[in-house]
Symmetry: none
C-alpha cells in the first residue's frame, strides 16, 4: 500500500466521518425540535460551526434529512432482509423483526423519531418517494408474516390483520420517542417485554 493510497483513503474516510458527525448533530436537533421548526443555524450551533459552513458539506437543509433518513432505512432493510432470509417460523420471525426494530431504535433513535414525525409530510415531495416505498414494503412484509402466522395457527384468526399490523407498527416505532439508551432497560429487554405484551396480552391468566 503506497503512502499515496493511504493518504487518499484517510482523507476520504475523514470526510465521511465528518459528514456522519454533522448528520448526527443535525438528526439530534431535528428530532428534538421538529424538522421544519429547527433552523439551519441551530443545526450549525449543535455542530459547533457557523450557519453557512454547513453548506460546504451539504446542499441544503433538505439534503440533510434526506441523508439521515435514507441511511437509516437502508440499514433497517438490510437487517430485515437478513431476518426474512433466515427461514424462521412465523412466531420466530415475528420476534426477530420486533427485536431488530428495537435495535434500530437503539442505534438510530433520532432518525427514527424524524421518520415518525416527518415522513408523512416529506413524502409529498418527489425527492422522498422512497419513504412511501419503504412504508409500502414494510406493510407488505408485516401482512405476509401475520397472514402466514394465522394460517399456521400461531396468530388468532378473529382479529383484523390490517389492524394488528398497525398496532404493531405504531407500538414498536413510537417507542423511539421516549427510549433513552441510558435508561434502566436495554433495547433487548424492552423488546422482550413488548413481545410478551403483544403476543400474550396484559391480562393475568
Amino acid at each position: 500500500m503506497s503512502p499515496r493510497r493511504r493518504d487518499s483513503e484517510s482523507t476520504a474516510a475523514a470526510r465521511a466521518e465528518r459528514r456522519a458527525e454533522l448528520l448526527a448533530a443535525a438528526a439530534e436537533v431535528f428530532a428534538s425540535r421538529g424538522y421544519s421548526a429547527t433552523t439551519v443555524r441551530e443545526v450549525a450551533d449543535a455542530a459547533g460551526m457557523l450557519g453557512g459552513s454547513l453548506y460546504y458539506h451539504f446542499d441544503s437543509k433538505e439534503s440533510m434529512v434526506d441523508e439521515i433518513l435514507s441511511t437509516f432505512l437502508t440499514d433497517m432493510w438490510a437487517a430485515y432482509d437478513r431476518v426474512l432470509g433466515s427461514g424462521l417460523g412465523s412466531r420466530e420471525t415475528f420476534r426477530a423483526l420486533v427485536a431488530e426494530s428495537f435495535r434500530m431504535i437503539d442505534t438510530y433513535r433520532p432518525a427514527v423519531v424524524i421518520y415518525q414525525n416527518e415522513s408523512k409530510h416529506l413524502a409529498q415531495s418527489p425527492r422522498f418517494t422512497y419513504l412511501a416505498d419503504s412504508q409500502r414494503r414494510f406493510r407488505e412484509m408485516w401482512l405476509a408474516v401475520l397472514d402466514r402466522g394465522v394460517l399456521d395457527g400461531v396468530f388468532r384468526a378473529d382479529l383484523d390483520t390490517g389492524l394488528i399490523y398497525r398496532f404493531i407498527r405504531d407500538t414498536v416505532w413510537v417507542a423511539a420517542s421516549w427510549y433513552r439508551g441510558d435508561g434502566p432497560l436495554s433495547a433487548d429487554e424492552i423488546a422482550g417485554q413488548y413481545i410478551v405484551m403483544v403476543l400474550e396480552g396484559i391480562l393475568s391468566t
Copy 2:
C-alpha cells in the same frame, strides 16, 4: 327577551360558529402539513379567505393551535372524569378509558394528530404549560388504573407498569394518524379489537 338581546345572542352564536369553522379548517391543515410547516396563508386558503383576514378572528397562529388543543383537552378530561367517577372495576375502567379515547379520536381527529406531533415542541413555550400538565395527569391516571389492576390480580404482575403505560398510550393515540371516520370499522369496533389485543394478546390459545 328584547330584540337587542336576541340579536347579540345570535351574532355571538354566529361568531362562535364562524370561529369553530375556521378552527376546524386550521386543525385539518395543521394536522396534515405539520404546525410549523403550515403557513397562515394555507390556513386562510383552506378557510376560503385571505391571509390577513384571519387576524380579525384570531390574535396569532399560535392562538389557533392553542384553542384547538385546549378545546380538545377540556372535552377529553371531562369524558375521562366521567369514567373515573363512575366507580367501575379495574378491567372495566380500562375498557372505558380506551373506548373513550377512540371516541375522542373520532370526534377530534385533527386535534389529536396535532397533539401527537406538536405537543412536545409546543410545551416548551409558557403558553402551553397545560400540555405538560395534561400529560402528567394522563400518566398518573393510567398508572393508578394499572397499579390497582395488578393489585386486584386483573393485570399481570411480571411486566413493568411504566412500560405498559407507554404501550397503551402510544397504541391508542397513534391510531389518530391513520383513522378515517369513513373507513369500514367504526370507532367503537376498532376500540373493541384494540382492547382485545391489548388484554389477551395476538396469539391463538
Copy 3:
C-alpha cells in the same frame, strides 16, 4: 356598467398598473447596475418599499426580468409584424424596421439595455428559451430582408449578408446604452441619421 363591474375593473387595473410601476423601477436598476449585480433590496429601494414587499408582487428576482423582457419582446414583435405585413419594398422595409427599433429603444430603453447585456447569460436557463427563439427569428427576418434587397439590386452584393446583419443588429440596439429621451435628438431623428449612415456610408461623395 354596474358599480360592481367598475370596481373589479378598477382594482384589476390598479393591480396591473402597480406591477408596471414596480417593473419600471426594477428595469431601470437592472439596466444601470447589471442584473446579477443588483440586489433585490436596491430594486425595492427604487420602488420605495422594503425588500420583502416585492415578493408580494413577484415570485422572484428572476420573474421580474422575465416579465420585463417578455413584455418588451412581445411588443417589439407586434411592431415588426405590422411592418412586415404592410407590403413595403426592400428599402422601405429596411427603413421601417430600423425606425421601429429606435422607437422601441425610446419606449423600452431599460428593457433593451437588459436584453443586450444579459440575454446571452439568461438564455442558458430553460425559463428563458424564448430569448434564443426571438434572436433566431430576428436573424431570419433580417436575412430575408437583406437577401431580397440584394436580389432586387437595392443592397450591394459584394458584402457578406451575415456580416451586414450583425452590423445592423449591433449598430441599432447598442444605441440603447447611450440614448437618453431627453437629449437634443429625438428617436426618429437619430433613426434617420443611422439609416443614412448605414445606407450611404460616411464618406462624402
Copy 4:
C-alpha cells in the same frame, strides 16, 4: 550570470506564465457568464484548481478583472499610439484604427467582451478610474480623426460627428461578442468589410 540569478529568472517567468494562464481561464469565464454572476469557484474549476487556491495567485476576484482589463487596455493604446504617430491621412488613419481594433478583438476577445459588458459598472469603483479615462481618451481620439476628416472633405459634413463616433465605436467593439477566431473570415477580412460598410454604406450604387 549566476545560477542563482537564472533560477529566480526562470521561476519568475514560470510564475508570470502561470498567472497568465489563470487569467486567461478567468477571462473566458467572466466573458461567458458575466463578471458578477461568475463565482470564484467557477474560475477555479476552469483553471483546474480549488477555489481557495486562486488566492495564492491573486488578491481578490476584483484584482483578476483588473489585471485582465488593464493588460488589454495597455496593449490597445500602444497599438493606437503607433497608428496615430505614423502621420497617416484621415482616411488611412480611420482604416488603420478600425483594423487595429479588430486585431485586438482577435487577440483579447474575452477581455474585450468583459470590457464591453462590465466597464460601465466597474468604472464606478475608484480602482477602475482608468476605464473612464480610457473611454474619454478613446472618444477624443475618434472625434479628432473624424473632425479632421470632415475638414479635409473626406467625411460627410451633414452628419453629427458625435453620432458617427458612437456608431463606429459600437459597431467595432460589439463584434467581439460574436467573433470566433476559428470562423471562416479572418480578423483582417472582417475589418476590411466593416470599413467598406462604414465608409460607403450598404446601398448598391
